[in-house]
């Protein structure tokens, strides 16, 4: 094999692994919808299975993250700044972590959601997950962005996706306020420790949407030049 071999010039593109990482991350978050439904139905066997799934996806995301970090040496010449890319990766990775926290603590404490709040809660979870899925849609544009050299019309497409993500995050916020209000009305009749943890869960479900929103923001920074 001669040196003068061009193939040494090409590093592994981080774009595809970034997208794979985000896909797995959102899979983990997406499990929450079914998980909360199982919890509100009192089906703890199914809930346990789903929680295992969440853990599995979170691990997968971690593995991809580690590989990516190892394969982004400083000598690589990338079309976008390396630091921005790694920062975006960190942001993406916070989504499955939070999903794992939520499922883990609910399983661990066998928490039940008060009957009058269940529908509201499920809707709130769905809205949060929808925001996360929108973030994935935006991240999935990375390969198209590379195709156009991170410029031009494709930027507008991503801008619009991020606007949509803003809307979804806002919607999740509104629902969060509703769920909190309902819990506030009920809290006097419930065991105080349970209430404390319920507030925590509400917070964390909101985090899924917030973190998805952060991913969108980071993506924007990556593209802003």
């Amino acid at each position: 094999m001669p040196f003068a071999n061009l193939s040494n010039l090409f590093g592994r593109s981080p774009i595809k692994p970034m997208q794979e990482h985000m896909a797995v991350a959102i899979k983990a978050a997406g499990q929450l919808v079914g998980f909360f439904e199982a919890v509100t139905d009192g089906n703890w066997v199914l809930a346990g299975e789903i929680q295992q799934q969440v853990v599995k996806y979170e691990h997968e995301a971690d593995d991809i993250k580690k590989q990516l970090r190892l394969h982004l040496p400083k000598s690589l010449f990338l079309p976008v700044p390396r630091t921005d890319l790694l920062e975006l990766l960190t942001m993406q990775d916070r989504i499955p972590n939070r999903a794992k926290d939520i499922a883990g603590i609910i399983m661990g404490r066998k928490m039940t959601i008060p009957a009058s709040m269940q529908d509201q809660m499920n809707e709130f979870v769905r809205a949060s997950v929808a925001a996360a899925e929108q973030a994935l849609t935006a991240i999935n544009e990375l390969d198209e962005l590379l195709e156009t050299g991170f410029s031009g019309r494709e930027l507008t497409v991503v801008e619009n996706m991020i606007k949509e993500l803003d809307k979804l995050e806002e919607k999740a916020d509104h629902l969060e306020i509703g769920v909190r209000t309902s819990l506030f009305a009920l809290e006097a009749q419930l065991p105080p420790v349970d209430v404390m943890f319920l507030y925590n869960i509400i917070d964390w479900v909101g985090d899924i949407a917030n973190r998805a929103h952060d991913v969108g923001g980071r993506l924007q920074l990556l593209l802003a030049h």
């Binding site: 094999m1 001669p2 040196f3 003068a4 071999n5 061009l6 193939s7 040494n8 010039l9 090409f10 590093g11 592994r12 593109s13 981080p14 774009i15 595809k16 000598s75 690589l76 010449f77 990338l78 079309p79 976008v80 390969d143 198209e144 590379l146 195709e147 156009t148 050299g149 991170f150 410029s151 031009g152 019309r153 494709e154």
Partner: protein, 424 residues
């Protein structure tokens, strides 16, 4: 010269054999770089790439390889000083061939950095400077050649950057990339056909057609090249008409159909790349052969000797044999690794590299096709078109210059004294 009367036949055969050996090495190693990009971006299958390489390397070597061959024959060594030692000149050229060929073989086996151009130039400088005298080297010319090794990748990078920018502007960054791809790509095809024909007509063909005393004037060349360009674009338009949008694949990536259109264009740039490579690198093998033949036939070192066209043919044949016996394996390996280069990028890099190499061939500069291609790929990278590039390779390239020149020179000096002892 009793030497040529006695051993003329032997020297003649030796030159041809060593020339074939060197050409085989070029075909086995160097071609794979020129063609690897097309295979990697899946614009061509392996089989197609080999066939294209064979046809166009051959055509490039035969039709446009004369000027660089002339430089290698007479542009590095001071022929005036040599004219008093025609025998030493012949030994030197034979040793250079054998040295460069052996070095190529050793380096390939060990997987070391190597460039065919640098090894032959190093070998010729080596025997002339050490075996004869330091004044026997045309240092002015040599610095020009060495300078071009650094400048040509930069030029290729500059051209590829702007070609890719033009693609972004005209095709990728528009409302209808697919439609625009079909609309504008024939122009790129025309450019490829026109440009290569132009350089060939003006510079290369005089070595092939000199028996017929045919010379093309500039206007004639423009007309003929334009006709060839139109013909090339016509073939391209026909091929493009058979490509339809694949809505299913476009769902996952909106540009996948567009890339398929660029894949057709890449067939053309792959041909031009093979042509360019043949036009420049075959000279590394046949230049010294031409030098030896001229001296053996004339019995003296002449400045006016013309490169016979059958020598170009010999080199072209050697390259094709090298490609068929060993080069295809290397091509597969390289092609497998270059998957990051999509057709829209690969074409820009190839077109720029081919243009640069063909211009260099027209001027008669022996340059390194691979380095030029590396420069062209970096140009596309600068236009933010490639996922990741290893800048560490640039260091390897410099290492290849540093290693190859003295290695070629050292081996050539060794062989030079060996031949000197053998024949006298």
């Amino acid at each position: 010269m009793t030497l040529f009367a006695e051993y003329g036949q032997v020297l003649f055969v030796l030159a041809c054999v060593f020339g074939l050996f060197m050409a085989w090495g070029i075909g086995a190693n160097d071609v794979s770089n020129a063609m690897g990009t097309s295979v990697g971006s899946r614009a061509l299958t392996m089989k197609q790439a080999i066939i294209i390489a064979m046809v166009f390397e051959f055509a490039g070597a035969y039709l446009a390889g004369g000027e660089v061959t002339e430089t290698i024959r007479s542009g590095i060594v001071e022929l005036d000083i040599m004219s008093s030692h025609p025998d030493l000149f012949v030994y030197g050229m034979l040793s250079s061939l054998l040295a460069a060929g052996s070095w190529l073989l050793i380096a390939s086996i060990l997987g070391w950095p190597v460039s065919t151009t640098h090894s032959i130039v190093g070998a010729i400088i080596g025997f002339a400077a050490v075996g004869i005298s330091v004044d026997a080297v045309q240092w002015g010319q040599v610095w020009g050649i060495v300078g071009s090794w650094i400048i040509t990748p930069v030029i290729a990078g500059f051209i590829s950057f702007w070609i890719f920018r033009s693609v972004q502007h005209l095709i990728l960054d528009t409302e209808d990339p697919f439609g625009n791809a079909k609309r504008y790509i024939p122009f790129y095809m025309f450019a490829v056909g026109f440009f290569l024909s132009m350089v060939t007509l003006l510079k290369g063909l005089k070595y092939v057609l000199k028996e017929h005393h045919i010379e093309f004037g500039f206007i004639q060349a423009v007309v003929i090249a334009a006709l060839i360009g139109i013909a090339v674009a016509g073939i391209g338009i026909y091929l493009l008409s058979r490509i339809n949008q694949d809505t299913h694949a476009d769902k996952s990536n909106r540009f996948s159909s567009v890339e398929r259109v660029f894949g057709v264009l890449m067939i053309f740039t792959a041909c031009s790349m093979a042509f360019a490579h043949g036009s420049n690198d075959v000279a590394n093998a046949v230049g010294p052969v031409a030098a030896v033949i001229a001296v053996v036939q004339a019995g003296a070192v002449e400045t006016k000797a013309l490169v016979p066209s059958w020598v170009l043919l010999l080199g072209a044949t050697g390259i094709v044999i090298g490609l068929a016996t060993y080069g295809y394996k290397v091509m597969v390996t390289i092609g497998k690794k270059i998957t990051e280069l999509t057709p829209s990028r690969g074409f820009a890099a190839e077109m720029a590299a081919a243009a640069t190499v063909v211009i260099a061939s027209g001027i008669g500069l022996p340059i390194s096709t691979t380095h030029t291609l590396v420069g062209a790929v970096l140009g596309v990278g600068l236009a933010r078109g490639i996922g990741a590039l290893n800048l560490g390779v640039i260091g390897g390239i410099f290492a290849s210059w540093v290693i190859t020149l003295p290695a070629g020179a050292g081996l050539s000096i060794l062989f030079f004294y060996f031949f000197k002892g053998l024949f006298s």
